[in-house]
């Protein structure tokens, strides 16, 4: 199970490197989204600083639907997914390999967006950078797990670009709320010491999502 999952991960990373233009479009979209928030709020620096966590997570969430959709478009383009199943690669290995590849991409995207959002909104970190990195890792995992499952479900559907966010957003709202809250506490300070609970909540959602999605993935892609 681990070996084929690593093989799928390696294959997805190779595909990403083979066509960097595809990912550049997602990165550009996320940067433009951050810029739009700053234009929409205007020169109210305190409002931008206060809401940096929300804008950052919205940009990541919106961009994730593009990246996740793209990840499975490649699999259905010439029925490559069917080919993977026939090799045979276990469906769970396909899920964990692809979900990890999507997670790595979202982490790389976040690594770009965090300093950019700090620059645009004038935000700073009152907590530690390690805590910021941990909550971003946990939150993006909460997007990548169910996102991978839903992108597999919608890849062959008519209007898949619309279907994916329609299905995914309601499911990830709890993770999004908890990630925004935890990130805000890291950025703005946490006088009541609440952030640990929010971190744990996102971690619990990750555990449930990644376990359930791994189990359900076979039902989605097999025949």
């Amino acid at each position: 199970m681990i070996r084929p999952a690593l093989g799928v991960l390696r294959k997805d990373l190779k595909l990403d490197l083979a066509s960097p233009g595809r990912l550049a479009a997602v990165v550009l979209f996320s940067v433009v989204t951050l810029l739009l928030f700053s234009f929409a709020v205007g020169p109210d620096t305190s409002s931008l600083q206060r809401n940096t966590a929300g804008y950052l997570w919205l940009a990541l969430t919106l961009s994730s639907t593009l990246a996740l959709g793209e990840s499975f478009r490649l699999e259905v383009e010439d029925d490559a997914l069917e080919g993977l199943l026939l090799l045979p690669v276990p469906p769970a290995a396909i899920f964990y390999g692809k979900a990890t590849a999507n997670l790595l991409f979202l982490l790389a995207l976040a690594a770009l967006l965090v300093p950019l959002s700090f620059g645009l909104y004038g935000a700073s970190v009152r907590g530690s950078f390690l805590e910021l990195a941990v909550i971003i890792a946990l939150g993006t995992a909460g997007l990548a797990g169910p996102g991978t499952l839903y992108s597999a479900m919608t890849a062959r559907a008519r209007g898949s670009d619309v279907m994916l966010p329609l299905l995914l957003f309601p499911l990830v709202i709890p993770v999004l709320i908890a990630s925004v809250k935890a990130t805000s506490l890291v950025l703005l300070g946490d006088p009541m010491g609440d952030r640990g609970a929010w971190f744990a909540l996102v971690g619990c959602f990750d555990l449930v999502y990644w376990t359930l999605c791994g189990l359900l993935f076979g039902k989605v892609v097999d025949a």
């Binding site: 070996r3 084929p4 093989g7 799928v8 390696r10 294959k11 190779k14 595909l15 083979a18 066509s19 490649l74 383009e77 010439d78 029925d79 490559a80 069917e82 080919g83 993977l84 199943l85 026939l86 090799l87 045979p88 690669v89 097999d222 025949a223």
Partner: protein
């Protein structure tokens, strides 16, 4: 008498799309090492049958067994060459072959992969991206993937499609080789007179129903009688 299960067994196998039956009530048993040629007009259910046997499609009713197991559990023994080539268009021919070998648990050397490409007529094309390949080249690469896996049960859906005359000869040689090595073979094609001498049994499907079963050599005449 052997206790070995047949290589392929389909029991009352049916698949419907909405109110239309693509395949209805097919019973089939194929011993290991035997070969079957499936023929029929467009929409007769040939592709549906092969996809059901490979478990890339779920039957509406009935069941399939491959080497005594459900097909999804016997995929390591199954190879399917379908209309879709299962390739990643952003990768090169060699990368596609290597990815398939690695994910199938067979880490082949570059020389071995190069030899496979040469065998299917793609020598010197290892670095060509699939996006830049013709349909015939993609089909040849799909054959290379099949040869790399070397499964016990081989399902070929229109293997002559998209190929040039030299490709036709390659397919003929491949079928003869697979048969001589004891592989179980099910093949669908419209080029029945060409394929009939190469395979043992024949099955004619019309509107999803088996209408004739017999030696493959008699399939062309059965078709002209029943499809006239």
């Amino acid at each position: 008498m052997s206790d070995l299960p047949p290589a392929l067994r389909a029991t009352a196998l049916s698949r419907g799309y909405g109110r239309r039956w693509a395949l209805a009530g097919l019973n089939l048993e194929l011993a290991a090492g035997r070969s079957l040629l499936v023929a029929g007009p467009n929409g007769a259910g040939k592709t549906t049958l092969l996809r059901l046997l490979a478990a890339t499609l779920r039957p509406t009713s009935g069941s399939v067994e491959v080497l005594g197991k459900p097909p999804a559990a016997a995929r390591e023994h199954l190879g399917l060459l379908s209309h879709r080539t299962h390739l990643y268009t952003d990768l090169t021919c060699l990368e596609n072959l290597r990815v398939a070998a690695r994910l199938g648990g067979r880490d082949l050397s570059k020389d071995r992969l190069g030899a496979l490409l040469e065998r299917v007529g793609l020598a010197g094309r290892g670095g060509t991206r699939i996006r830049e390949c013709s349909a015939g080249m993609r089909k040849r690469l799909a054959f290379a993937r099949l040869l790399e896996k070397d499964p016990d049960v081989v399902l070929l859906d229109e293997p002559y499609g998209q190929l040039d005359p030299r490709g036709f000869d390659f397919v003929d040689q491949l079928i003869a080789e697979l048969a001589s090595r004891g592989r179980t073979l099910v093949m669908s094609t419209h080029l029945v007179p060409r394929a009939a001498p190469l395979l043992r049994s024949g099955l004619l499907l019309v509107d999803g129903r088996p209408t004739w079963v017999g030696p493959a050599a008699d399939l062309p005449s059965a078709m002209s009688e029943r499809l006239a």
